[in-house]
């Protein structure tokens, strides 16, 4: 059974204070690792997909990296508008084909 664990559960940062969010996973045959951002009352918004260890992707202040056991979402010089819940998910297999298994998420709050 695929498992995804995110840490920390919650993170408070001052504006400009860089940090990293962790996503540890176990999956039988990783087909992709996804990062999403979710704002209150909204559905998850796609950020990145990573497919193989060593891969990195960047978007504005966010950078995602992947190893064989975990992924990191690095936030550089965050701003208050980066406050959201960040979700990690792995793509695996079920009887219907493929599926996403989500971690519990990290609630990020950036204070001005």
């Amino acid at each position: 059974e695929d498992q995804v664990t995110q840490s920390p559960e919650a993170l408070r940062l001052q504006e400009g204070e860089s940090s990293s969010l962790n996503c540890s996973y176990t999956v039988s045959g990783l087909r992709g690792l996804f990062w999403y951002r979710q704002d209150p009352g909204k559905g998850p918004e796609f950020l990145f997909t990573l497919y193989s260890a060593g891969e990195e992707k960047e978007k504005e202040r966010l950078k995602a990296t992947l190893t064989k056991k975990e992924s990191f979402l690095h936030i550089t010089a965050p701003k208050p508008e980066d406050s959201a819940t960040y979700l990690c998910a792995v793509q695996g297999w079920n009887n219907a084909g493929n599926m996403l298994t989500f971690g519990g998420g990290t609630r990020l709050m950036v204070k001005p």
Partner: protein, 113 residues
């Protein structure tokens, strides 16, 4: 990327009743997914709906409680049947497109009283 419209966006329902949630996509997709997000929790997959076949349910979810329809390649419904307060959650529709990966609707916030 795909645009997903979910209706209703929120509802308050009496226990014992049923609610049908609609999901409309602006592209033809083979697989549609229904998720539940309980308060303060992450997303849990309820079922996968392929057009032209019965939905495939994940462990802990059954068709009698969460019947799903998939009449064509752009539309699906999820019904939450015989509701109890424990069904109060956000229900999300998702699709997978080869180029854009997985896209989610804005969700239906259900409160059962």
């Amino acid at each position: 990327s795909a645009v997903i419209s979910q209706k209703p966006s929120r509802d308050i329902c009496q226990r014992g009743t049923s609610l049908t949630i609609q999901c409309q996509v602006d592209s033809q997709v083979t697989m549609m997914f229904w998720y539940r997000q309980q308060p303060g929790q992450s997303l849990t997959l309820i079922a996968t709906a392929n057009q032209g076949s019965e939905a495939t349910y994940e462990s802990g979810f059954v068709i009698d409680k969460f019947p799903i329809s998939r009449p064509n390649l752009t539309f699906s419904t999820l019904t939450v049947s015989n509701m109890s307060p424990e069904d109060s959650s956000i229900y999300l529709c998702s699709v997978q497109l080869a180029i854009y990966g997985y896209t989610f609707g804005s969700g239906t916030r259900l409160t059962v009283v």
